[in-house]
């Protein structure tokens, strides 16, 4: 079973929920940090990294000996990643989406694909939790292809938790798509509510059952709760603001390991999710 933890707004506590959930439930559990722009789960789980792979995406390389400057490649490219003049052929690998169109259309077979580095995939484990994350190379714009590589690390068996990036655009969709349940982590503030509504819309588009965790649940107002009620999105857990929890977070600690009552609550959360996902309890 695959559960993604997402939010809309950043900084609401996705990583807190994902890591605490991972260390509270029984093994085998797999934690995949798909926030490849700013991966943080490893700072809390502190896994020993056992394997590192450089991940690339194919981009064109032109054989100038064979090229006749026919311009077919630049005409087919919808991302303006190739420019051809009578004298020159320029490629802009950072604009390339790796569709392979230029290579397929070239009548001279003058194009081959080479790798552009997207970032690295790191894999490891800690206390029965297997772990993988992607780290996007700083300066690289395209997160989704690296997210797909991290997702491919999910084993067949056991529970897989996906820590998703914030927002509702393509990287989040890449992280959440085809998972069995989405936990949306929010805070009861106007920003939290606004971005939650967008996230709910995104999850509905993907037709995945979902539930809510309200973090810092006593800081703000009641509008998130009434929204959840009117939309039929179940509230699965509330975490009140506690300066002790905030401070332990700042040091990279998981509060489920410090406070046994929280570990019990995260185990209960996992049980609730399993029941809801089993029912396919989507709220249309």
């Amino acid at each position: 079973m695959m559960i993604s933890i997402a939010s809309g707004k950043g900084g609401t506590g996705k990583t807190t929920v994902a890591t605490n959930l991972a260390v509270s439930v029984d093994a085998p559990v797999h934690l995949l940090d798909c926030d490849v722009e700013e991966p943080n789960a490893h700072l809390f789980l502190k896994p020993a990294i056992e394997e590192t792979k450089t991940i690339t995406t194919p981009v064109p390389e032109i054989d100038l000996e064979k090229c006749t400057h026919c311009r077919k490649c630049s005409e087919i490219c919808r991302f303006k990643a190739i420019a051809v003049t009578d004298e020159l052929v320029l490629t802009f690998p950072e604009l390339c989406h790796s569709c392979g169109g230029c290579m397929a259309i070239c009548p001279e077979n003058a194009i081959r694909e080479v790798g552009r580095e997207l970032g690295v995939l790191e894999m490891g484990a800690k206390d029965g939790v297997s772990f993988a994350h992607g780290r996007l190379r700083v300066g690289e714009a395209m997160a989704p292809p690296l997210i797909h590589v991290v997702r491919a690390c999910a084993p067949e068996n056991g529970l897989t938790l996906i820590d998703a990036p914030p927002g509702t655009s393509c990287p989040v969709i890449a992280a959440m798509k085809d998972t069995d349940f989405v936990v949306l982590v929010t805070e009861p503030t106007p920003f939290g509510l606004h971005d939650l509504k967008l996230a709910v819309e995104a999850v509905r588009m993907l037709k995945i059952p979902m539930g809510l965790v309200i973090n810092r649940s006593d800081m703000g107002d009641d509008r998130v709760r009434s929204y959840a009620q009117s939309e039929g999105v179940p509230i699965l857990m509330e975490i009140p603001f506690d300066r002790k929890i905030a401070e332990s977070y700042s040091r990279g600690e998981m509060f489920a390991l410090t406070y046994p009552e929280w570990k019990a609550r995260f185990r209960k959360l996992a049980e609730q999710i399993k029941t809801l996902a089993g029912k396919g309890a989507d709220v249309q």
Binding site: E37, E38, L43, R78, A141, C170, P190
Partner: protein
């Protein structure tokens, strides 16, 4: 004209609350919300929308079943597995590369350009504002960020406004890269948590990569004074000016609930005093002092 872009790396460190407070302090500025994916600045600014425009992104493949002979060329060539065995295109999977369109022997695939968001020119109590809304699950967020920043610049020029404050998105990917290019300066709002530090470091690296001057402001500094010191040391080691510290203060949330900036909600409170100092420090950094 100068543009200050507010970034953080990690989400939820206080970018939007501080952007709004800076706008309260700046005398007549142009506001730009470059977090087109989860835009929140309008919740504090209550902009009155003057002009609304569609944002056209790329195309998406659409198979014309009357012309399709079922040869399968499109399925074979699509690298995104976006076309099902019964020739239906999954809009979410489709990358918009158009390879299927160009290689279909029957020319049975259309490629209609999609409206993937909207952008707005508005008036607020602090000055004009350019903001946008990217559609759910859409791509091209970088293009939309570039568009709102260009529009903000153009409008500022027309109105003779010499400062743009841009609220940036979290992360270091496509929309963030589109937010930093050509900025006068970036201020990173960092929080003294292990994740805040980790993400600040990556955001800082990104600014260096694109050669944009960068400043650091530490929010919620009292949650972990040791980590606050670590941030200050890291900044110093990288020759990045620290423009100040702001304490953790629930007043920010109370102001947000009222739809106000902190300085409007509690003009004489202690957090407000810290913000005023930070703002003065930002304006007097070498990058922001440089004449256009």
């Amino acid at each position: 004209m100068k543009e200050l872009v507010v970034l953080s790396g990690k989400g939820g460190t206080g970018k939007t609350s501080l952007t709004a407070s800076f706008a309260t302090l700046a005398n007549n500025c142009m506001l730009c919300d470059a977090d087109v994916d989860a835009a929140d600045l309008h919740l504090l600014m209550q902009p009155e929308i003057k002009k609304r425009s569609d944002f056209k992104g790329g195309g998406i493949a659409e198979i014309n079943r009357d012309k399709c002979t079922g040869c399968g060329t499109c399925i074979d060539m699509c690298r995104w597995s976006a076309i099902s065995s019964d020739f239906v295109v999954d809009d979410i999977q489709c990358e918009g590369c158009g390879v299927c369109v160009d290689f279909c022997p029957e020319q049975a695939i259309d490629f209609p350009i999609q409206t993937c968001g909207q952008w707005f020119i508005s008036e607020t109590r602090f000055g004009p504002m350019v903001h946008a809304r990217l559609g759910i699950a859409e791509e091209n967020s970088g293009k939309l960020v570039t568009l709102v920043r260009q529009q903000a610049k153009q409008l500022a020029e027309e109105k003779g406004i010499d400062l743009i404050i841009t609220d940036g998105p979290p992360g270091v990917g496509c929309p963030v890269i589109a937010s930093v290019g050509g900025a006068t300066s970036v201020v990173i709002i960092a929080e003294p948590t292990v994740s805040g530090i980790h993400d600040m470091a990556r955001a800082m690296e990104l600014c260096k990569h694109f050669k944009v001057p960068v400043l650091v402001c530490i929010n919620k500094f009292d949650l972990n004074p040791e980590n606050t010191t670590r941030i200050e040391t890291m900044a110093k080691d990288n020759d990045v000016p620290v423009v100040g510290r702001i304490p953790f203060d629930p007043t920010f949330t109370k102001a947000m609930v009222q739809g106000k900036t902190l300085l409007e909600f509690d003009p004489d409170g202690s957090a407000g005093e810290y913000i005023k100092k930070v703002w003065t420090a930002i304006l007097t950094t070498p990058a922001m002092m440089v004449a256009n």
